[in-house]
């Protein structure tokens, strides 16, 4: 069965590119365009991995990450934070809140794919 990936980002063109990239790798892709929608979808669909943008309306990536890690139904889900904010403090904040990896934008598509694969163990 295909691994399920949820993309949470409010930037349409980035969503388009990520969606294309991950589908090509053979994952099932879901999209959420703000933090609250992402939380709802994560709970409903229980994806194997979530790609999480930090700057999102309604609920930012950090808060969402915290909420997801507090939900023990989702313990198996991997979280990959994706942000244009690349300062040290933000990276360690993301990892401290329970993200499994933190990738700064702009990213190399190859490396992102590798990162996603290794997190999903495929």
């Amino acid at each position: 069965m295909n691994k399920k990936v949820l993309i949470a980002d409010d930037e349409p063109n980035i969503v388009i590119s990520l969606e294309f990239l991950l589908r090509r790798e053979g994952f099932d892709v879901l999209v959420a365009v703000d933090g609250e929608e992402a939380l709802v979808k994560a709970r409903e669909e229980k994806p194997d991995l979530i790609l999480l943008d930090v700057m999102m309306p309604k609920m930012n990536g950090f808060d969402l990450c915290q909420a997801l890690r507090a939900d023990h139904d989702l313990d198996d889900m991997r979280i990959l934070m994706l942000s244009a904010k690349g300062r040290e403090t933000e990276v360690s904040k993301g990892l401290g809140l329970g993200a499994d990896a933190y990738v700064t934008k702009p990213f190399s598509t190859k490396e992102l794919v590798l990162q996603v694969r290794s997190l999903l163990g495929v």
Binding site: D10, I16, S17, K85, F107, T109
Partner: protein, 913 residues
């Protein structure tokens, strides 16, 4: 039981008790366990102010003038409550300079002048003599009243008797003897008498209790409380006026003079100076005295009016002197015990006053009158004499006896003509003459010895002429012609209407002319020449007394001396043992084991001088020390140099203080500037972070799409074209973002290139609408124009205004509903300028967002679907442009009903574009 032996035994027992307490107090002091180191004792001992004048005389005064007795207590109350800082300065100055009397104080202040000290002493002795006479009169009067018990017989004219048959004479002798054993048993360098202070404090308690006892007895024993007595008085025609505020005949001038006089007396009476300044062991005691002493005065005055009224009611028409009511009322009601208590209270008041006053005066006579004369007459021979302390004691004892006999003499001469209070006031007016030289000396550097001499002489001469001589005349010892017609018939020189000054009571009259002469002469002579070196250096010690923690007297001495000479000299006056221990103490303080190891430097010489000053006065001490220490005279210019250095130091320190204040202020400014900078830095950081975020976002898409295109050559053509299109639009976005960021930075830094020209706003709007018509068409929206024509032109930058209009229009388009959008652009003229509105029928903007949208990079959008395309800089830039031309840009919006962006531009921008 009230007979001669009982009275004598009671008196002697009481005096014995006082003596025992004094002896005990001195013994404790020698053991270093002071009994008077209590602020309460200090405050109580200050009540030596209340003499028989208060004890008997207040009632007498009240019987004549109602509350006219009060100013005598109001003055001290005001001084203690409001003028304590004067007393504090006196205490500190006196301690720092080992000053032992008021004569010493004044002489020391004006360059340790022998002449001045002598003059002050003479004035004090002459001035105080009537006051002592008053005590004799009161005590002898009370004794003779008691002896006639149960009859009430007014004391006869004792002056009719020969001296040796006059009881007052013996009372004077007994008081002298008592004072001598009390106050001059030994010499002390600080001239302090701890035992005496303890005894005086007790006396204050005794006289207060005695007076309160009579008061309570009269008010609640004979009558039925205050209300009862005053009711009786109100029913009596003669007494009614006593209960009114200020009885006629005693004007406000009189009240003022008496209050002033009493206020000065509490500071400058020799006995008050002795108790409040010399005997003060701790200046913090002043704090309690500032309220406790006024409270004492209040208590001792509480029953004065009831007793006076009770006496007048009871003895109406019987010829009983009101000064005796305190005693005769209990006698008339056969209260023997109470009468005896009252007698003891009166005796207490008298002995307290006499002891302290004569001790203070004898110190002055010895130190400032006799010693200087001896030194002058016998000079160096005195310094050779082996032990002078016995001589000093003998001088003081003699002085005490002489002063009391002088008091008796005055009593014989003038005592009968005056009531107690009137006699006391003569003394008050005399000591008030010290005020200009004292107060001026403590606060004015310019006061000189000559000024003080002139002021004191002039003031006291006027006092003697206008108050003392008339008191003799009224007693019949001088012809009264000169009172009524003036000396030699010069009408203008009548002593109590001097220069025709009429209509004042004699005290106010004397006070006016004596102060006029005193202050006038003091100031006039002082300013005639600048102070000498000695005066200036002493002025510094006195005027700046509160500034220096330590005495700095040694600064102005240079010379050679031998330690052995100094110890021997001090030993001659203090006795070898005391001198030895004083010098040993000094050596220990300076880290030396023995006196021999000391160096005879300026400080040691100063120390020796101050030890002597305590015993023989500062002026005499100066002379004596000079006889053994070869003082190299400092020339005036050298002294001025030293003083200059001191004043330069002072001004440097002031300068330093000012600098440090400035530094503090600068530090404060820097701190707040730094805080502002940090805040700005944080803002800049946020903006940088926002900018990088905004730049990275399109870059992320561009990189992702191009990598995908590169890595996947087999991508379908449609997909490929779509991605390439996105790359192009994201590149556009990036370019626009960079341009706008730079544009905003330029505007904010003030480097923007503004062009100003008169332009027609209507035309600008029309052009902007025309160039965005494509956008509206794409969205199927309608644009309505509502533009007033024929409006005045506006001075602004045409391209910038088009930039604003395009921004507003394209913002509006983004939020319009598809195919139902409507935008209305309006232009109106107001009184001050033009207003443009761009109204849309989009979703509107929530109130909380209406400010946010004008901040950089703050787009308001909810989700992917309605996230506005744009940089988040359009509105901030537009607002800055409008503000640059003196206008405002804002938004009105009700959510759900669209938004209207408006800007206003004034006809005449005030920034001079």
């Amino acid at each position: 039981m009230l007979n001669g032996p009982v009275i004598v035994v009671a008196s002697l027992l009481y005096l014995g008790l006082l003596f025992a307490i004094a002896w005990w107090g001195d013994k404790r002091a020698d053991q270093g366990r002071s009994v008077i180191s209590s602020p309460t004792i200090y405050a109580l001992s200050m009540a030596v102010y209340c003499t028989t004048w208060t004890f008997y005389g207040s009632v007498g005064r009240a019987a004549v003038s109602g509350i006219g007795f009060l100013p005598i207590y109001l003055g001290p109350t005001l001084v203690m409550a409001l003028g304590w800082f004067l007393l504090l300065k006196m205490i500190r100055t006196a301690k720092a300079n080992r000053i032992t009397s008021i004569a010493d104080f004044i002489s020391s202040r004006y360059g340790k002048s022998l002449l001045l000290g002598g003059l002050v002493t003479v004035i004090a002795v002459v001035g105080i003599v009537p006051y002592i006479a008053l005590q004799l009169k009161a005590v002898s009067g009370s004794v003779s009243l008691l002896l006639n018990y149960p009859e009430i017989v007014m004391p006869g004219r004792s002056t009719a008797l020969p001296v040796f048959a006059d009881m007052s004479f013996y009372i004077a002798l007994i008081l002298a003897a008592f004072t001598i054993v009390f106050g001059t048993r030994h010499l002390d360098a600080t001239e302090r008498h701890e035992g005496m202070v303890a005894a005086i404090a007790l006396e204050s308690v005794v006289k207060l209790l005695a007076f309160l006892a009579v008061g309570l007895y009269v008010t609640y024993g004979i009558y039925d409380g205050f209300a009862d007595i005053f009711q009786y008085a109100a029913d009596d025609d003669r007494l009614r006026r006593l209960s009114t505020a200020i009885p006629s005949g005693q004007g406000y001038t009189g009240w003022f003079s008496l209050t002033l006089l009493a206020g000065l007396a509490i500071l400058f009476l020799p006995r008050q100076f002795q108790i409040a300044v010399v005997e003060n062991v701790n200046e913090s005691h002043l704090k309690r005295a500032a309220w406790l002493f006024p409270l004492y005065l209040l208590l001792i005055n509480l029953f004065v009016l009831p007793i006076a009224l009770g006496g007048l009611l009871h003895f109406s028409g019987q010829g009983v002197d009101a000064d005796t009511f305190v005693l005769t009322l209990p006698m008339a009601h056969h209260q023997e015990g109470l009468a005896l208590l009252v007698f003891i209270g009166g005796l207490s008041a008298a002995t307290g006053m006499v002891i302290v006053e004569t001790i203070a005066l004898s110190t002055m006579v010895c130190n400032d009158l006799v010693m200087p004369a001896l030194i002058h007459l016998r000079g160096a021979a005195l310094a050779e004499a082996s032990d002078l302390s016995r001589l000093l004691l003998r001088i003081r004892r003699g002085a005490i006896l002489v002063i009391l006999l002088l008091g008796y003499l005055y009593f014989r001469l003038a005592g009968e003509a005056y009531a107690l209070v009137a006699i006391g006031l003569i003394s008050f007016a005399a000591v008030a003459q010290f005020a200009p030289a004292m107060i001026g000396g403590m606060y004015w550097r310019g006061g000189t010895r000559g000024g003080a001499l002139a002021g004191l002489s002039a003031g006291s001469l006027v006092w003697a002429y206008t108050l003392l001589l008339p008191s003799f005349a009224k007693s019949g010892w001088l012809a009264t012609d000169f009172l009524t017609q003036g000396p030699f018939g010069f009408n203008l020189l009548r002593p109590q209407q001097l220069f025709g000054l009429d209509g004042l009571d004699e005290i106010s009259h004397c006070l006016f002319w004596s102060f006029f002469a005193n202050i006038g002469a003091y100031v006039a002579v002082s300013i005639m020449r600048s102070p000498t070196a000695a005066e200036a250096s002493q002025a510094r010690l006195f005027v700046d007394a509160l500034k220096y923690a330590r005495p700095v007297g040694a600064a102005l001495w240079r010379g050679l001396a031998k330690v052995s000479d100094l110890t021997a000299l001090v030993g001659r006056f203090l006795g070898p043992q005391r001198a030895e221990s004083a010098f040993a103490d000094y050596a220990k303080r300076h880290g030396q084991v023995a006196i021999d190891a000391l160096e005879a430097d300026a400080e040691l010489v100063h120390f020796a001088e101050s030890l002597l000053a305590g015993t023989i006065g500062s002026a005499s001490a100066r002379v004596m020390v000079a006889s053994v220490a070869k003082e190299e005279p400092l020339s005036a210019s050298e002294v001025m140099n030293i003083l200059d250095e001191a004043s330069q130091l002072r001004s440097y320190s002031r300068e330093l203080e000012r600098k440090s204040r400035e530094l503090e202020a600068a530090t404060r400014d820097l701190k707040s500037a730094n805080e502002r900078l940090q805040e700005l830095d944080r803002v800049k950081d946020d903006i940088m972070s926002s900018v990088t975020h905004e730049l990275r976002t399109p870059l992320t898409s561009i990189r992702a799409f191009t990598e995908m295109l590169r890595d996947d050559p087999k991508m379908r053509l449609a997909e490929r074209e779509r991605f390439l299109g996105l790359v192009v639009s994201e590149s556009d976005r990036l370019a626009r973002l960079i341009n706008q960021t730079l544009d905003l930075a330029k505007i904010e830094s003030g480097n923007a290139d503004w062009r100003g020209s008169a332009l027609d706003l209507k035309e600008v709007i029309e052009q902007s609408v025309a160039s965005t018509s494509q956008l509206f068409n794409e969205k199927g929206a309608r644009v309505e124009l509502d533009l007033q024509s024929g409006l005045p032109s506006i001075l602004a930058d045409r391209d910038r205004l088009i930039q604003v209009m395009l921004n507003l229009l394209s913002n509006a388009v983004k939020f319009l509903p598809l195919n139902a959008g409507r935008v209305c652009v309006s232009l109106r003229a107001g009184a001050q300028g033009l207003e443009v509105g761009v109204a849309d029928n989009g979703p509107g903007i929530r109130v909380q967002d209406q400010q946010v949208i004008f901040e950089k990079f703050r787009q308001v959008g909810d989700s992917l679907t309605n996230k506005p395309a744009g940089t988040g800089l359009g509105l901030p830039i537009s607002r800055r442009i409008i503000e640059h031309f003196g206008g405002r840009l804002w938004v009105d919006s009700v959510p759900g009903e669209g938004a209207t962006f408006r800007f206003f531009l004034p006809f005449a921008p005030d920034n001079g574009v």
